[in-house]
Symmetry: C2
Subunit: 404 residues, 2 copies
């Protein structure tokens, strides 16, 4: 008789955003006249930039003629895209990353979920608290997190690094030494960042203690301050301890296009085994490449026209971020984030829990946000709003909140 | 100090098709004048059908306007595609499969690699021998296969079901009862099939013994004989024991477009836990949907124009299959397959091993095929040729082989 993976059953409830979707659908059914504004899930709303649309049409035409048709992509991605990434995201910032250390994928969610697979089950993970839930959830599914405490909403074998108002929403080096450290900067959900010298401390710590840093830089395009690093490889020694995850979802609006990449430097090794070779093996065995047309769209992100258009798109969303942040501040809310990230992190007023505020905001302002507690115990009583709506909707949502 | 997943190191050598690619690249470098014809990897060569190209362009345009832009897809796929699949692939064949039992993905390779994850590590798998290597390799990476015997090229905890000339290249019910049974019909690599009544025996066996059948029907579009089932759900009782994997790669030329799906009926349960809910949880946590434009391309596969054009495309490849099969027969080879599948399975002549014949064919005819031994021990001394080349190349390759 077959048996299921019992680890899956340990996951409490369903994935955060599925729960939100269900709550909103129920409210919407009961209140069909309500004009709901969604500033919850981090999904973009602006159309793809012209340079990307042009590249997509061109690639589609190529797929329509036998001479230019493309079948299976190279296992690790097309060279045209890997070269563009190496040049623009790394060499241009003084980071030494070769094209063949870049693995193209269909998005950072998949990569951040799958990367734990190349590590042993008995590695101990450390995560920022609060943080993107996929890091912990995928380690639960792999049986790496021990037992769940439903009261504290924590796992016995996970090292939580609280990022609170007191720490300026940055993590401190953990007391217990972890094996894998997930860092996400600019941070989802708090919108906070750390400076290059702070990140250097993490890299030094990882090298000294034999840890691997899994560095999620999905929001790097939103960095506006000079001393905030865009890549972990800006730090000395990162090539021997860090993996970096990147996405095209937020800098280029690819949430429905699906493209991302993971960087694993060849020096990152356990004894004689390089993590690069393990991830290559995973890609070769369980993955079959991102679509050719999508990889061409990714290439267009790095064209001169693409860069200019996307700079404008990021500015559009950051104008929303400023409107949200300033509006809530004016209304007396305690807010952070929104300067180097498209996320605004606010304290629920009047002692409400995160979900209480979620329900209150949905009911009274018809605005959807994300409960901070969904990102970890230290997120309780906090709330995340995203700057990815249209400007008009963002203004209306904030004005409604201010009017409460 | 972090530790790696040691299971990965058990995998002998690299993935079959990577090895072939390296050998061909080396030969090509030494013999730059040789016009190599590739009938090895099962990659298509014909351009996408007009109906699909039109759908792609239209969807790209939608992504270029804010009003029609699409961000994250629904977790399990767009309804327009799931409805088209339920209607055309199932209802039209008398199979009772609902749209919400269909999970859209970026291809059958990923699904066939990931599906094992929802099962416990101590399940025992049974595979046809020879078969597509991904089933065994991904179970090796999960630590489910015991120890490797390099001499026999088999794993101690895998039940191999030999598919040989004596069994008409079909598997027999195993003596030892497995938990998970991988079946692939039409079979890759042998091109063989089983009848509906034979498949019914497997379904009955699975229901009786508490097994799950993982049924890979990636090549169903090539079935030409009436008594060969297109779906496992044509059999009575399959809803309580079978998962089906499907691909758009071979019926619509999507190897570089990436689209597939997995069907899990809601009745398929371990106690009170449905496998449907586990797979939904995996999708929701580790995957972020197939691109919108690609899902629209998938929808076009089921349009009237799409169906007509793809019928022609399949006929094009099957003309190649017939040419290969007849040509090799004329030349005295022992051949099978090629009637309900785009694969021709042949016995290496003169007592050669599979890899000896690979090298011989590459050296003397500049034709690339796939060594049967790469698909399992019973594939030794066999060889796979695919019908996915252009007609001109196929004719030239076979004529070269005949001239040897």
């Amino acid at each position: 008789m077959f048996k299921i993976n019992e680890e899956y059953l340990k996951l409490p409830g369903s994935y955060l955003f599925s729960t939100i979707a269900k709550k909103v659908a129920a409210f919407s059914e009961e209140n069909p006249e309500a004009k709901i504004i969604r500033l919850g899930i981090g999904d973009v709303t602006q159309q793809l930039a012209t340079a990307i649309i042009d590249a997509l049409h061109k690639a589609v035409d190529e797929m329509g003629a036998a001479e230019t048709f493309r079948g299976y992509a190279p296992d690790l991605g097309y060279e045209f895209l890997r070269n563009a990434i190496a040049e623009n995201d790394y060499k241009a910032r003084g980071c030494e990353i070769a094209a063949d250390e870049i693995f193209i994928s269909d998005g950072a969610k998949c990569d951040s979920g799958n990367i734990q697979e190349i590590f042993s089950k008995d590695n101990k993970i450390a995560v920022c608290d609060p943080v993107y839930p996929v890091y912990v959830d995928t380690n639960v599914m792999a049986g790496r997190t021990g037992t769940y405490d439903p009261e504290r909403e924590t796992w016995s074998d996970v090292i939580y690094m609280p990022c609170t108002k007191e720490t300026n929403f940055a993590p401190s080096l953990p007391k217990e030494t972890p094996d894998l450290i997930y860092l996400c900067f600019p941070n989802n959900p708090t919108g906070s960042t750390i400076t290059k010298s702070q990140l250097q401390e993490w890299v030094d710590y990882a090298n000294k203690n034999g840890c691997v840093i899994i560095y999620d830089a999905a929001y790097e395009a939103y960095i506006s301050e000079a001393d905030v690093p865009h890549s972990v490889y800006e730090c000395e020694g990162a090539r021997t301890c860090a993996i970096e995850l990147r996405s095209f979802s937020k800098n280029a609006g690819f949430t429905g296009v699906r493209l991302g990449f993971t960087v694993i430097p060849k020096e990152l090794k356990a004894g004689s085994v390089s993590l690069h070779s393990l991830w290559a093996r995973r890609h070769g065995t369980k993955y079959n490449g991102a679509p050719y047309i999508v990889q061409r769209a990714g290439e267009a992100v790095y064209s001169e026209a693409g860069k200019a258009q996307l700079k404008e798109q990021v500015a559009y969303y950051m104008r929303n971020a400023a409107y949200i942040k300033n509006g809530l501040k004016d209304a007396g809310y305690e807010v952070s984030g929104g300067v180097n990230a498209p996320y605004i992190w606010l304290k629920a007023p009047g002692g409400m829990t995160s979900w209480e505020f979620f329900d209150d905001l949905l009911r009274r302002a018809h605005v959807v946000g994300t409960p901070g507690s969904g990102f970890g115990p230290s997120g309780e009583t906090y709330f995340r709003l995203t700057a990815f709506g249209s400007y008009e909707n963002t203004v209306e949502a904030i004005d409604r909140i201010k009017a409460l």
